[in-house]
């Protein structure tokens, strides 16, 4: 059993188009967007290994969250790996790795995100060890 937290979606476009959109400003701002009126999202991206992709987003200038992604792997148009630091409005932060995979599927793209290093792995281990509490829901939540 993997410790990854995994998300996936089939997108009706070729991997090159999906990869291109994901690595330019408008696509990144769509990724971090929200329908709420007044939602703020700003993305700046230096697409090279070691380069920084920085996104700020939130409901107001006073309470912005920030994701700083540093590119570790750029394999166009099939794979990206970033080290992410999530800085929250309360001043705390969370660090994890994200791998984005773009696979061709019948003319479309299966885009998969895998996140590693989150505390969810610790929680799932608790579940495996049989701790008798609300962890029963976690397997479902994490494995999806």
């Amino acid at each position: 059993m993997s410790d990854d937290v995994r998300f996936a979606r089939v997108i009706d476009a070729q991997p090159e188009a999906v990869f291109a959109a994901f690595t330019e400003q408008h696509g990144q701002e769509a990724f971090y967007g929200d329908d709420e009126p007044g939602w703020i999202v700003e993305s700046e991206c230096d697409l090279r290994v070691g380069g920084l992709w920085s996104v700020t987003f939130g409901y107001s200038r006073d309470e912005l969250h920030r994701h700083d992604h540093v590119f570790r792997v750029i394999d166009r148009p099939s794979r990206l790996v970033v080290d992410t630091t999530e800085s929250r409005a309360d001043g705390s932060s969370l660090e994890f790795e994200i791998e984005f995979i773009f696979e061709e599927r019948d003319g479309k793209t299966l885009m998969t995100m895998m996140q590693r290093g989150l505390p969810t792995a610790e929680l799932r281990e608790e579940h495996r060890s049989g701790m008798p509490n609300a962890f029963a829901r976690l397997e479902r939540v994490i494995v999806g």
Binding site: A30, F31, E122, L123, E126, N133
Partner: protein, 109 residues
């Protein structure tokens, strides 16, 4: 996604394998500090430190029984932690879906 200090402390408390072992042990019934210390090869002071961290977030409660201090699982049901994970998943899946819709609309022009 909402964050709070208690949640951070709960994740911290659970991040240590010894503390998870203590919780698993207490899941089978209450134990004194001495009974908890022995299987983990800890001193009383060592186990007291771990139990203190678990006690801060209500994962464990302790009570003096005679000359010993007895520990048992606390009232924390970790609903905050599971809710955080639910929110976390919804947020990231929402980002992926939103981006997918953006690309599909853009490609269709």
């Amino acid at each position: 996604v909402q964050y709070n200090a208690t949640l951070d402390r709960t994740f911290f408390a659970l991040s240590d394998p010894t503390r998870r072992g203590i919780l698993a042990r207490l899941g089978r019934g209450s134990a004194t500090l001495g009974e908890l210390a022995e299987p983990f090869g800890l001193t009383i002071n060592g186990v007291k430190k771990h139990v203190g961290i678990l006690e801060e977030v209500d994962l464990v409660v302790t009570a003096k029984v005679g000359r010993a201090r007895e520990c048992q699982l606390g009232p924390a049901q970790l609903e905050d932690a599971t809710e955080w994970i639910d929110d976390y998943r919804r947020t990231w899946q929402g980002r992926l879906d939103r981006f997918g819709s953006y690309v599909e609309k853009d490609a269709g022009r």
